[in-house]
């Protein structure tokens, strides 16, 4: 049962997840366009991209559920396509639709998944209570799964995915529809597992969730647009700096700045209204703070402050999509 972790020791030089020049076409449509990346052992890796970008396709290929058009993928050194069965035995997968059976109890669900992974009753007997405890479901293990709330179901689904102690787990949009508090608690679980040496790959379309990962791969329209940690992405990927303008009449500020951008009077990007503030992306902080202030004051706008703020991951992503030539992977 410790098969997973001993494999890690053996293959510590080979990353547990490897994607090499992966291409996947569906007829004319290119879903995955020549992607390559690795996931390090024990890492919490975020696979980020909007719906339809190709991220689920990539996961399916890694799991051996789809054949690649060209290129290779390896999980724990095993070829996903040619050694499917071995991959399945060593990998945990938590899918978006929970895959929990609503009319079974948590206990029965875990036992079912244990059986699916060919665990013997002897192996299962101590394991089920372990999982119940990890998921915090003591006292609820005999209730109908349908009666559990979203957050609990997620923890149970995670438990079912790791019942056979896999070395690598794939979580597909695991906290979709879950409230922020439950989401934080769920992520605590994820990091606990990572501490124990499990490699975690999380797919998500939710920028905020991506911030919780140690490293992120961005995929957009089939292409890998960026690959680095959230902090590094914000530093290196951002094409420009985000200034936040607090002033009277924010709507007028937007109009003025947009006109300035259009007439190339000022080199501004992404001028947008954020509640009562205005954000603009500029090439240089000091210079542009002054220029913007001057322009607004000339237009009789009372400027309260212009500050350089940290970009959100969304800012970074949009910037990376717009200017893809810059650094792709770190």
């Amino acid at each position: 049962m410790i098969a997973g972790s001993s494999l890690i020791q053996k293959q510590v030089s080979t990353p547990p997840v490897v994607v090499e020049n992966l291409v996947k076409r569906f007829g004319d449509f290119v879903a995955v366009d020549n992607i390559s990346f690795n996931v390090r052992a024990g890492e919490v890796f975020g696979w980020l991209g909007p719906n339809g970008a190709g991220k689920t396709t990539t996961i399916r290929i890694l799991l051996g559920l789809l054949k690649p058009t060209s290129g290779k993928t390896y999980v724990l050194g095993l070829d996903s396509n040619l050694q499917k069965k071995e991959v399945h035995a060593r990998v945990g997968y938590m899918s978006q639709q929970f895959t929990l059976y609503n009319d079974l109890t948590p206990w029965e669900n875990i036992r079912f998944y244990g059986g699916v992974h060919e665990m013997t009753p002897a192996e299962l007997r101590p394991r089920i209570p372990e999982i119940i405890h990890m998921a915090g479901l003591e006292g609820r293990e005999k209730a109908m799964t349908r009666t559990l709330s979203g957050g609990w179901k997620q923890r149970l689904a995670l438990g079912c995915a790791i019942v056979h102690k896999p070395a690598v787990i794939f979580l597909d949009e695991p906290t979709a529809g879950v409230d922020p508090i439950s989401r934080r608690e769920f992520w605590e679980l994820i990091y606990q597992m990572a501490d124990e040496g499990v490699t975690v790959v999380v797919t998500t379309h939710y920028m905020d969730e991506a911030e919780l990962c140690q490293r992120i791969g961005f995929i957009s329209q089939g292409r890998l647009v960026a690959l680095a940690s959230p902090a590094e992405l914000k530093k290196a990927q951002m094409h420009g700096f985000v200034l936040e303008v607090t002033a009277s009449n924010p709507e007028q500020v937007v109009r003025i700045l947009k006109t300035a951008a259009q007439t190339k009077q000022l080199l501004l990007d992404e001028v947008a209204l954020y509640g009562a503030q205005v954000h603009a992306v500029v090439p240089d902080v000091t210079v542009y703070k002054e220029r913007i202030r001057a322009l607004l004051v000339a237009n009789q706008i009372n400027v309260r402050s212009i500050e350089w703020i940290a970009p959100s991951l969304e800012d970074v992503f949009i910037s990376a999509v717009k200017f893809p030539a810059e650094n792709k992977s770190v």
């Binding site: 922020p180 905020d208 919780l212 957009s220 209204l273 509640g275 009562a276 703020i309 959100s312």
Partner: protein, 328 residues
């Protein structure tokens, strides 16, 4: 009360399901003034969609009062529908109709005169970037374009108020950004009041007024700045190793107002950065816990939400006081 474009007091909506009664909206009150972008923020199942539907008269109101532009949701449903636009969460417009046919359909349904349609429809389509797709079937549009079409169709009759139920769900960041910019431009151009619901905490930052909702109850409402001001102290962030011991070490320290877990990072709310930072560093060092720089960061809506929900659940006094009330 009369100037409020959208207004609800002690709104209750219950669903009877076989033998159980589910209270989806639990004595919720809110007010939205003209020209605002109001965000109803909360996770799935919090009651956002139900609230919008009751306001629009699409669901029966169990108790309480609600009105839009002075028209009561239940008694004057049709006048409300004539004056509002709505993008439902399901957002399924007739897929077998083309973009143009959809626009004409909604225009006709709202009684817009043909002459007016001839002028406004091309304008609206150009504005939303759908000008080149007039004959494309709605079902064949990309996700982002479908949303834009829904927006165009909801505005064709020049409503004063637009309701959007989770409009950016699952949409890619670029389209999401575009959609928001579009929305804001329209709001400014046409003097709209926008009411939107979203589970995305970061979208709260784009609203002028925000209401945080959980399990059918309004936790707090106000501007983003006001809500963040409710957060205790300043926020420090760092990555400790090992994690759990760090959490346990920090919790009992003096001046620690709240601790939140953020993936592999710890978020600690302290009353004063200058004094507490060194204290925390010392405590961690004494336990042999390694860590990187303790950075002060700006709390985001999500931190605010978590903090407020926790306090709401644990306070014996009940709800945290709403900070904007009716004094506008």
């Amino acid at each position: 009360m009369e100037e409020m474009v959208i207004w609800a007091r002690e709104l209750v909506k219950q669903f009877k399901n076989d033998k159980t009664v589910i209270t989806a909206v639990d004595h919720l009150s809110l007010e939205v003034a003209s020209g605002e972008t109001y965000g109803l923020i909360g996770p799935d199942g919090a009651g956002k969609t139900t609230t919008i539907r009751v306001l629009l008269g699409l669901l029966n109101r169990t108790a309480g009062e609600s009105s839009i532009l002075g028209f009561d949701s239940m008694r004057s449903t049709y006048p409300i529908r004539e004056r509002t636009g709505y993008i439902a969460q399901s957002n399924v417009l007739p897929a077998d109709l083309s973009v143009l046919e959809n626009m004409h359909f909604f225009a006709d349904i709202h009684g817009v005169a043909r002459a007016v349609q001839e002028k406004n429809i091309p304008e609206l389509l150009a504005f939303t970037g759908l000008g080149d797709f007039t004959h494309r079937l709605a079902g064949k549009l990309s996700g982002g374009m479908k949303k834009k079409l829904a927006l165009a169709c909801s505005l064709i009759h020049e409503p004063k108020v637009v309701f959007l139920d989770e409009p950016t769900l699952g949409v890619d960041p670029v389209s999401r950004r575009e959609f928001w910019n579009l929305l804001e431009n329209l709001r400014v151009e046409k003097g709209l009041t926008i009411f939107m619901s979203t589970p995305y905490m970061d979208e709260a930052e784009r609203c002028t007024q925000v209401g945080l909702i959980t399990r059918g109850r309004m936790i707090v409402s106000g501007t983003v700045a006001e809500i963040k001001a409710l957060l205790p102290g300043h926020l420090l962030e760092f990555v400790p190793s090992p994690f759990k011991p760090a959490q346990q070490t920090c919790l009992p320290l003096p001046g620690i107002l709240e601790v939140q877990v953020y993936g592999e990072k710890l978020h600690i709310f302290v009353d004063d950065i200058e004094t507490r930072r060194p204290q925390i560093e010392a405590a961690l060092a004494s336990q042999g816990i390694r860590h990187n720089d303790l950075r002060e960061i700006e709390p985001r809506m999500e931190e605010a939400y978590i903090s407020l929900v926790n306090r709401h659940n644990s306070t014996s006094l009940g709800k945290v006081q709403s900070c904007s009330g009716g004094n506008k």
